[in-house]
Every structure is written in structure tokens, then in C-alpha cells.
């Protein structure tokens, strides 16, 4: 361009300038945001960046008492795994246990002490600080103690074992308050009762599934929710494939196929409440066929005569041939083992049924024998917690006292009776009569929501404590629970709160409970354990303690077994009829209700854990909801399809829930999972599903005082509404695609 006019020149300058500016700003805008490199002021010694450390502790998700090992990065818990050296779970852990992180980091945890401002149950609370909470409560308890009105103080906890239990007991004792109860829906009262009756022991024996080669389970969902699932699963794996060329057989007798039923080789849907009879029928056949050769054989066959299979067949809905087969199997087996639980134990005569199972074990010669029922030595920590386990009957007495208005202060910890007791029990109403309800709780659950004062507790991952698993695995052991992370909210462990109260109250309590923190107390108690073991000296305890902290468990390195108790035929008469009776007439209420604990939620305590909510139910793949399981034929008769909302009603109550067509359930049984239907329990659980316990009539098993949850009859009505169940399954048949492996010739 030869001649550029002046204004053109300016234009070019402008263009260039604007361009340059734009370029500069652009470069500025794409710069990374400034990141900081923040050092520690004083680095902790066992810390280095980007490297994980593991702490061993105790799982608090269910009473099985597994040892856990938690992965910590930069002071935060990242993963929970089983403690490899723990004899109960040997490094393995169930889904619920692993979801413990959801409890620790749950967004709905109670973060500060709360005082009720509105009406009870209104959920209107004001945050207060700890001193205020402790002084007011301590003062209250103290004054009651002085007035000698301490017996008007009740303490109700969930299953609490080990030294925390002893601490609580001591505290109540010093306070002069006799009532300290533990209520846990999962506690198998009838099984305990039966064992007391037959074996004369008040402790669960160890069922050696691992080494047995024939496992007869009368309703016990040992892989699902029975006593110690993870340990049983380990044993099951060994039973199946652990011994080369020698595969154990499993038979499951239950009206609705449980997780264990699915894994069993044979599933026998005996009518609900007749499992006991079947056990006796087998026992009879065994004695009759000479499978039992004890000295008292004659007495046994006499006592068992009424249970001849041929006679019973119509009642127990299992024909004599099957009984014969099972009997042969037992006779052929080297290590037969019978276990009982679940619906069989939840009948109106659950104790009798469990007695029958025990008897069968005796006659099969499985007592005190490898692969059978083993009786362990005394535990290393006093285990009178069992005495405090309140059966339904005992809860009702306690409720009556409350109802009379004779309870001024009720201390609650780690239990949720409002949810876990049937409405018909009227517990909630009685609760309302209590002067002051104080809840030591991490979550605002159905019961905590009734409290006047709420003291937020640490979850187990933040607490000191210890535990003796029940049943022990043969060797006396104790699990140590230590905080794996620093408290994330302004909460305290139950033990610390109690110790704090003791000092508040004053009097002789501080002397009797001299420890200031739970840690100190546990350390002290373990010192005692140690000195007993070491023969009266506590030299070298510090080493021992370091070890314990590192391994998270201490076990005496030799198994100690007691001889098998003798069993007399008299127990049969003592136990009475093993056949269950039901609430409600058969023609008004054609179906039997089976409220079932699911592995995901246990008795509902897992419902606030998002991972559990999002975990497809192992048997149905349903998530987020309550469903009503029906047999296909039943559904067809009632013209019901999956997702049809039905109204299930018993003499005690009514609920509405969508139908799920379950292939493996008796046509005359309706199963509903427990766990959902919380009124208060945080964002993940609230207003979701319904609680089948509202249907349960208050039938109790006299011998154990347990609530017979499987002894209610119900009727079903189609509402016409639909509510499509959320599930992950598409089509649960393999359409001949041989997805589970090439078809075998014989199949």
C-alpha cells in the first residue's frame, strides 16, 4: 500500500491496540487460579502426606462384634475393611459394616446438645452448650438421688457389651436406680431361652458351621442376619469349597427363601410355625431308625413317639419321605449340625421350636463336637449384659411403669423402641408419660425425636470402648474400640457423658467412677484383664496395650471348650408344643405375615446410610422402598401384578405397600421387609416406605417373653393404585442363554 492516509493509519493503530489489549486480557483470563501450599505448623509424627495409615477398631453396626480396620488419609476415614487378625471376621466385612463411613460423615448427625422448646415430638429444639446440658441433667439426677427417688430413673440402651455396659451398670447402681434395660430387636430371646432350658447355659454356644458337612437350618438366615453373618459366611465358604473333594450340604427350612435359602442345596418351604415339629419328626425318625444309641434311647423314643412323621405329615406339610431323606442324610453325615432362628424362632412357641432343634443336635450327636455345637469357656469380660436384654414382656412391664407416670427421667442410648416395637404395644403412648426423656444419640431417630434433652454421642468410629463378641469363636477374646478420627462434631461418647455426669452428681460417685475419660477407663480395665492373664502382675502392660491398640483385638491363644451338657427327654415336655399359634382367624386373615430383617437395614438402624439405601436388596434388587412379597400363584389369584399397591391389614393394624412377586415364598405367606418407614431418621430414611411391625399383633412366646413377630395373620386388599418399585433387575430368568455356565448332561 503506497499511500496510507492519516485516518487509515490511526485505524490501523486502533485495530492493533484493541487486538493487543484483547490478547493481554485473554492471557490473563486463562491463567490458573492461585493455589496455596499450606504447611503444618507442627507435623504429627505418624503422619506423612499422601500415605494411608490403618487403625484397627470395633464395628458398631450390628451386635456381631466384628473387628474393623479403617484407612485414614490426612486425618479422614476413607474406607472400612475387616480386621485381618480378628478371629470373628478375619479381614472380611459385610455391606453394612462398610457403610459405617456413612454414619460417621452423615450430614444428618446431631451436631450439638439440644433442648426441646416446643411440644414433645414437635422437633423444635434449641442448641445449648455442653456445660449447660451436663449441669442441668447432672443436677436433676443428683437431686433425685438425694431425695431417694432414683428408682424413678430408667436407663434403656441397645445391645451394649464389654466395659461400657459395666460402666453404665455401675453408674446406675451408684445412683440407686435399679432399672437398666437393653432393648435390641435382633436379640434372639427364644434361642437363649431354649439354650437355658436344654443346655443350662445362658450363653450362645458356637455353631461350628465351618467344619460341619450337613447343615440343617430351621429358618436361621445365617448368611443374612442371624447372629454373626460375616463369620458364618466365612464358615459357609469353607464348608462348600474349603475341603478339597469334600463339599458340605446345606438344607434350609423356611416359608420364605432367605439369602441362606438361596444358597442352600435344598429349600423346604414348611408351613410357618411348624419348623419345630419337623425337627422333632426328624429326631423321631433318627431315634426310631437307630441313629441314636445313647443309654436313654428308650426314653427318647417314648418322648418322641407323638412326632412320627407319618402322623405329622399333614400338619407340617412335609411328607414322610422327605423326613426320611433328611434323617438318612443326618445319619450319613460325619458332622451334621442343626441351627434354628428367623421365623422358626419368632413363632408363638419359638422357644419350643428352638428346643426341638437343640434336641435334634443332641440326638445327632453334634453337641460338643467338631463341626457341631461347641460350648465356650467364660469370657474375659463379665458378660451379665445378657441379663439386661429386655424381652418384649419385660419392655411391657417397663412401659407400664412409665405409663403409670412413675418414671421421671428416662435415659436412652443407641436403641429405637418407638420404631422396633409394634404400635399395638402402646409403648410410644407410655413414653409420653415420662417426666424427662434424655437421649444420648448421634441421630434424630424416631425415639430420639421424643426426647426433651438430646446429648449428641460419637459414632463408634470416634469412641473408646471394647467388646466381647457373642458367640465367641471358641477362644476367649476381646475387641478394642479406639477413635480412628478426631471428633468431627461437638459430640461426646456415651461413656464420657456418664463419667461426666458422675462428677456432676458428686457424692460417692466420683470415688466409684474415678476415671475422667472413657480412654482412661478402658485402659484401666484392660490393665486388669492383663494382670489376670499375666497372673496378677501388670508388668509389661504398656507393651501389651500398644499391641492391643495396633491389632485391635486380644485373644487367648488357646481354644477352651467345655464338655457338652447332657440333655434329658424331659425338656420336650417342659418346652411344650412346638407348633405356633397365630393371631387372627384363618378365614378372615388368610395369610401369615413374616416381617423380615434385611441385611441392608437390620432392624431399621441402617436406613439412614445412603449406601445401604442404594444397595439393591440381594434377593429382589429393590431399592429405596418397602414391598410386599407374594407367591406368583397367590398374586394371580388376587389379580395382582408387581407394583400394585395393596392394603395389608391384621387385627393390629394396616399398611399399604406395593406388591413384589417373589418366586420362592409359600402361597399362604406374606413377607415384608423391616427397615423403612421411619418418621424421623434424616434425609435418607425419612418418609420412605412403611414399617411392617405396625401390623404385628402382641402375641408373645411365654417361655422367653419374646414377641412372636411371625405369628400374625393378615389379609390383603387391592387398592387399585400403582407405585412402580425401583429395582435394578430386568428379566431374572436366563432365557436358556446358559449365563451361569454350560448346561450339564443331567440337568
Amino acid at each position: 500500500m503506497a499511500n496510507i492516509s492519516r485516518r487509515d493509519f490511526l485505524k490501523f493503530i486502533g485495530a492493533g491496540g484493541i487486538g493487543a489489549g484483547a490478547g493481554y486480557i485473554y492471557a490473563e483470563s486463562v491463567k490458573k487460579t492461585v493455589e496455596f501450599l499450606v504447611p503444618q505448623v507442627i507435623p504429627p509424627e505418624d503422619w506423612s502426606p499422601g500415605v494411608a495409615t490403618w487403625y484397627n477398631s470395633l464395628c458398631g453396626q450390628c451386635p456381631a462384634g466384628c473387628g474393623i480396620s479403617v484407612r485414614i488419609r490426612e486425618g479422614r476415614a476413607k474406607k472400612i475393611e475387616g480386621n485381618p487378625v480378628h478371629p470373628v471376621n478375619q479381614g472380611r466385612l459385610c455391606a453394612l459394616g462398610q457403610s459405617g463411613l456413612n454414619a460417621l460423615y452423615n450430614p444428618d448427625r446431631i451436631r450439638t446438645p439440644l433442648r426441646l422448646t416446643g411440644a414433645r415430638g414437635s422437633g423444635e429444639y434449641e442448641p445449648i452448650d455442653w456445660d449447660e446440658a451436663m449441669t442441668s441433667l447432672g443436677g436433676r439426677l443428683g437431686s433425685m438421688k438425694i431425695q431417694g427417688a432414683a428408682d424413678r430413673i430408667h436407663l434403656l440402651t441397645g445391645t451394649v457389651r464389654g466395659h461400657l455396659d459395666l460402666l453404665l451398670a455401675r453408674f446406675m447402681e451408684q445412683l440407686g436406680a435399679p432399672t437398666y434395660l437393653q432393648y435390641d430387636y435382633t436379640h434372639p430371646h427364644s434361642l437363649y431361652a431354649a439354650n437355658r432350658m436344654v443346655f443350662g447355659v445362658d450363653r450362645l454356644p458356637y455353631y461350628d458351621i465351618r467344619n460341619s458337612d450337613l447343615l440343617l437350618s430351621f429358618g436361621a438366615d445365617y448368611l443374612g442376619m442371624w447372629i454373626s453373618p460375616v463369620h458364618h459366611s466365612l464358615s459357609y465358604g469353607h464348608l462348600r469349597q474349603g475341603r478339597p473333594g469334600h463339599r458340605g450340604t446345606c438344607v434350609q427350612i423356611e416359608p420364605r427363601m432367605s439369602l441362606s435359602g438361596a444358597s442352600a442345596d435344598r429349600w423346604i418351604p414348611a408351613p410357618p410355625g411348624t419348623e419345630g415339629l419337623l425337627a422333632l419328626a426328624i429326631a423321631e425318625a433318627l431315634v426310631d431308625g437307630g441313629g441314636y444309641d445313647g443309654a436313654d434311647r428308650a426314653d427318647w423314643s417314648a418322648a418322641l413317639r407323638p412326632f412320627k412323621a407319618s402322623k405329622l405329615a399333614p400338619t407340617i406339610g412335609v411328607d414322610a419321605a422327605v423326613v426320611a431323606e433328611l434323617t438318612d442324610a443326618i445319619r450319613r453325615a460325619e458332622h451334621p449340625l442343626a441351627i434354628g432362628g428367623g421365623p422358626a424362632a419368632e413363632g408363638s412357641h419359638g422357644t419350643a421350636a428352638m428346643t426341638a432343634v437343640n434336641v435334634l443336635n443332641h440326638l445327632a450327636g453334634s453337641l460338643g463336637r467338631r463341626g457341631g455345637v461347641l460350648f465356650g469357656a467364660d469370657p474375659v469380660v463379665a458378660d451379665d449384659w445378657r441379663v439386661r436384654q429386655a424381652s418384649y414382656a419385660r419392655m411391657m412391664e417397663h412401659a407400664q411403669i412409665m405409663g403409670r407416670g412413675d418414671v421421671d427421667v428416662l435415659l436412652l442410648h443407641g436403641t429405637n423402641p418407638v420404631f422396633n416395637l409394634p404400635q399395638a404395644s402402646g409403648y410410644t403412648a407410655a413414653l409420653d408419660k415420662v417426666g424427662t426423656i434424655v437421649a444420648l444419640s448421634s441421630f434424630m431417630d424416631d425415639t430420639t425425636a421424643m426426647a426433651d434433652l438430646i446429648l449428641p454421642t460419637n459414632v463408634y468410629l470416634e469412641s473408646w470402648g471394647d467388646d466381647v463378641p457373642e458367640p465367641g469363636v471358641g477362644l476367649p477374646l476381646a475387641t478394642l474400640s479406639q477413635p480412628v478420627v478426631t471428633r468431627i462434631h461437638d459430640s461426646r461418647s456415651a461413656g464420657d457423658i456418664v463419667l461426666g455426669l458422675a462428677h456432676q452428681i458428686g457424692g460417692e460417685l466420683p470415688a466409684e467412677l474415678p476415671w475422667t475419660t472413657m480412654e482412661e477407663y478402658i485402659r484401666h480395665s484392660w490393665r486388669q484383664i492383663y494382670s489376670v492373664e499375666a497372673g496378677g502382675t501388670d508388668a509389661g502392660f504398656d507393651e501389651f496395650w500398644k499391641d492391643a491398640l495396633r491389632s485391635g483385638v486380644w485373644a487367648r491363644n488357646r481354644a477352651e471348650m467345655e464338655a457338652a451338657p447332657t440333655v434329658s427327654p424331659a425338656v420336650l415336655a417342659q418346652a411344650g408344643s412346638a407348633a405356633s399359634e397365630f393371631d387372627g382367624a384363618e378365614n378372615d386373615y388368610p395369610f401369615v405375615l413374616q416381617p423380615m430383617m434385611t441385611q441392608g437395614f437390620v432392624d431399621g438402624r441402617g436406613a439412614n446410610l445412603p449406601w445401604q439405601q442404594e444397595l439393591p436388596d440381594p434377593l429382589t434388587s429393590v431399592v429405596f422402598s418397602t414391598w410386599v412379597e407374594l407367591n406368583p400363584t397367590t398374586a394371580a389369584e388376587l389379580d395382582l401384578e408387581e407394583g400394585d399397591v395393596v392394603e395389608v391389614s391384621s387385627s393390629a393394624g394396616t399398611l399399604a405397600a406395593p406388591v413384589f412377586i417373589y418366586q420362592a415364598i409359600r402361597p399362604d405367606v406374606v413377607a415384608i421387609p423391616i427397615g423403612q418407614g421411619h418418621t424421623r431418621f434424616g434425609r435418607f430414611a425419612e418418609g420412605r416406605g412403611t414399617n411392617p411391625l405396625d401390623l404385628v399383633a402382641t402375641v408373645t412366646d411365654e417361655s422367653s417373653g419374646a414377641l412372636a413377630t411371625a405369628a400374625t395373620r393378615v389379609t390383603i386388599r387391592k387398592t387399585g393404585e400403582r407405585l412402580s418399585l425401583i429395582k435394578t433387575d430386568g428379566v431374572s430368568r436366563d432365557l436358556g442363554r446358559q449365563i451361569l455356565g454350560p448346561a450339564k448332561e443331567h440337568a
Binding site: 487509515d8 485495530a15 493481554y24 493455589e35 499450606v38 504447611p39 507442627i42 499422601g50
Partner: protein, 179 residues
Amino acid sequence: MSVSVLEALQPFKKPVLLGLVGLLGFLVGDWANGRFNSDSAPVQPIEFSHRIHASENQIPCQYCHVYAARTPSAGVPSVSKCMGCHQSIATESPEIQKLHGYWEARQPIPWIKVHDVPDFVYFTHKRHIKADLECEQCHGPVETMDRITRVESLRMPWCIDCHTENQVEHGRDCWTCHK
């Protein structure tokens, strides 16, 4: 009447040229920003000089960056570490006064990150040091710097090139650095 394209294009000539000039300007501006206002050497809360420590006092890198050989991250020294020496040394200098300020307040020093690898990369110092790389290879002649400056781009092509030259075992498998 003409049908010549060039003629028709005449009036568009100037706008196009203007555009080009603008573009040129843009590039210049972009470059200028990098040159004169780069974020490769930010001003730190304390004028810490690597030259004094590493060069004059001959303190080895890992005396302060203790974690470098042991863990994925080199780790910036803790305040207590600094105080370890500066309790007594050069206490009167204003910069050290700042340090003391942080120490007494038990506050960490908010150092600005200079060598910041892109997100979603799992870089580990340990492996690189165990492979006998010199710190200088990535961090440049730190011992000559009063204010620490980024000399390498720390971007993926740079990583890949080095991995390729040194024939790092599976050094170009994505899962070596991304997870």
C-alpha cells in the same frame, strides 16, 4: 461493466487488513502478558530465598522437603521446621520477623503454589527421585533463585517427552499417571 473479481474485492481490502493487524496485536498482547506478567514467579508471603539456603548455606533440598523421597508429595516444610533454625539465626531480619509472627500465632504460612501440575494427574515425587532425577531437572536452578520461578511448563506434552526420551517403563500408559 467489469466482472473482475479483484475489482469486486477492492472495498473488502481495508477491513481485512485491519483484521489482520488486530490479530497481530492479539498475539503480541498474549505474548506480552506471558513475558511481563507471568504467574510463574508469584510474590510469596515471606521473601524466602532458595539462593541463600540452597546455594550459600548449602542446605540439601531434602533437609527441608523431607517427604520428597518417601511420599508422593515433596511436602513444604512445617513452620516448626523453619523455627528450628530461625529461633536463633538471623532473627532480626524483617522477613524472619514475619516467620516468627506466624509461629507465635501458630498459623501456617500461605505459600503460593508455583509448581502446580494439572488436575487429574497422580504425580509422585518418590518415584522420580528414586529414579535418580535431579530436582533441577523439573524445578530449574532453584539454588540461584531468590524468588522461586517455574521454568518448565509442567504440562502433559512435557511429561510425555521426558518419559519417552528416558524410555520410562510403560511411561506412556495413561494409567501410569491418571487413575
